[in-house]
């Protein structure tokens, strides 16, 4: 066979294999249950609206969840259990140095953001308290 055609065919085969692998892997990721108890969806619009309240106000621009997001402000994964819902509410209304005040938001929107953070808080511990934290599951 012409070596040029052979080479083109091998390039096509290799690319196709990776693309098929990607599809398979994406499917596995989407369907594999987590090892820690995730948060079971509740009926109605409440959870979706919590997610939208978090996003619409651009919280992720400065704050991260599980390390994903902005680094200007602190990670908020466990802010509810390590501080309190009231702490979050107060910070949002007061706007401490370096953070804009969200006084203009309606109470329900602030409740939704606090509710969203409460749900994230239940998902896992982050950042960990020590370097011996169990990365692959199990106990410290």
């Amino acid at each position: 066979m012409n070596p040029e055609i052979n080479s083109t065919r091998r390039v096509a085969q290799r690319a196709t294999l990776v693309i098929l692998g990607y599809g398979l892997y994406a499917l596995v990721c989407a369907r594999t249950p987590g090892d820690l108890p995730g948060i079971s969806p509740i009926p109605g619009d409440l959870k979706q609206s919590q997610l939208h309240a978090w996003r619409a106000n651009g919280c992720q621009s400065c704050h991260s969840l599980f390390g994903l997001g902005g680094h200007t402000g602190p990670d908020l994964t466990n802010v509810i259990s390590r501080r309190s819902p009231e702490y979050v509410r107060t910070m949002m209304l007061a706007g401490p140095p370096g953070m804009p005040s969200f006084q203009h938001l309606e109470d329900t929107t602030i409740d939704e953001i606090v509710g969203y953070l409460s749900r994230v808080d239940q998902a896992a511990e982050y950042p960990p308290h020590s370097f011996s934290a169990p990365v692959f599951g199990g106990h410290e």
Binding site: S7, V11, G38, G58, Q60, C62, F66, M99, A123, V135
Partner: protein, 427 residues
Amino acid sequence: MNSSSVAEQDSRTIADLLGRVGILITLMLTLLTGIIISVLTTRPSLTTTLPAMQTIRPLHTLGTIALLVFGINTLRDIAMKRANEQGMLPHWFTTTLILVFFISAFLAIAAGCGSGLEYVGWPVRLTWLPVGLFALIAIDTVRSMRSLCHLSPEGTWLLVMGLVLTPLGMIERVVSAEDIEITRSLTIEWHALDTIFAGINTALYGLAILLVSEPEKGRPLRARGLYLLAAFALLSTFGHHHYMSGQSSTLKWVAFLASMLGMISFVRHVWAFRRRHRRGDRVSTSLFASASTWTAFAVGSGVLLAVPQVNLLLHGTHAVVGHAMGAVIGADVMIIFAGLFSPRSTLSNDRLLKRGVVVLNVSLSLMVLNLFVAGAAKGILRMSDDPHSYLSVVRTILSPLPIIGFSMSVSLLILACRSIRIRRGSY
């Protein structure tokens, strides 16, 4: 007429100029917003006088992604010309599509209509525009695969892979945007984001190979074992980004294994460094050499960050930003500029340009070092009883960041402006 002179002649088109101006504009947006972010990070009290982070950060991300997309599109056009391939997709059409996407996304974010999603800060529906664009470019590239393989089969494979994986990652991100189960949503989000950036990097690496390869002498396909290793890493390293979430332990172990195997890739990069990029004009040579070095850094720091105990210390800190800066500016942006300069040999004595490359490398090194030190400080201090106690320390460590960012911006703007001057034929 040889293939490189054909490339030189054909690059003198309006579409090519538009692509280079697009690179300059998106670069300016990225640099301006980047400097504002660094100022706000170190001096948060300026929040009231500077534009809000909710607008600035998505614009910064948009600028970066649009810059990389413009770069891929322009470099692919040069590679096609080098392969004496016309293609069915006119360069002006793809460039205009990117411009339309960029302007629409910019206006939507500036008007406060962004999605609030990480890295995909524009309205979610707009994502279908770059997805369609990548699909068209991928189809056109596959049609020209034979000619491109003539330059380098390895480069062609990487380019096609990158052009397909990038839109697939975008689709995954858009489809999972409304998922409300937190652990699964995080898993998919990291998988999608990793795929988007892996796709962009892969396409640019492929283009770099195609632009330095001589016909029939280009790099052949890598051996089967290395191919399987690359495919495995490409698909599964994402899991190390969230070791601490409730994702499946199996995914974590697979990610850990794939990431550690990245050490082989790191060693290969370092090993190959001495043999590479010794021909061509000096500016593009030094840019390609810089890109090689920064690629080795990106792979090496990626492997390091995937070590579980190091991950606990550094993940979610500025160290990850440093890793990303090395990968995007050090590897991707340097490849883009090296590619823009590569058809021209007369730039070898441009002093300003050569100094720009040196300042860029020095600034980037200082920035990455600064970010890693700040990240380590944050990683240690956040484990204390008061998890927010690190803020003032980290801000102090990061205080040189705006100045470093400014010097890096100047050097990048010199490269971008020079790349347009070439187009005008002023030398």
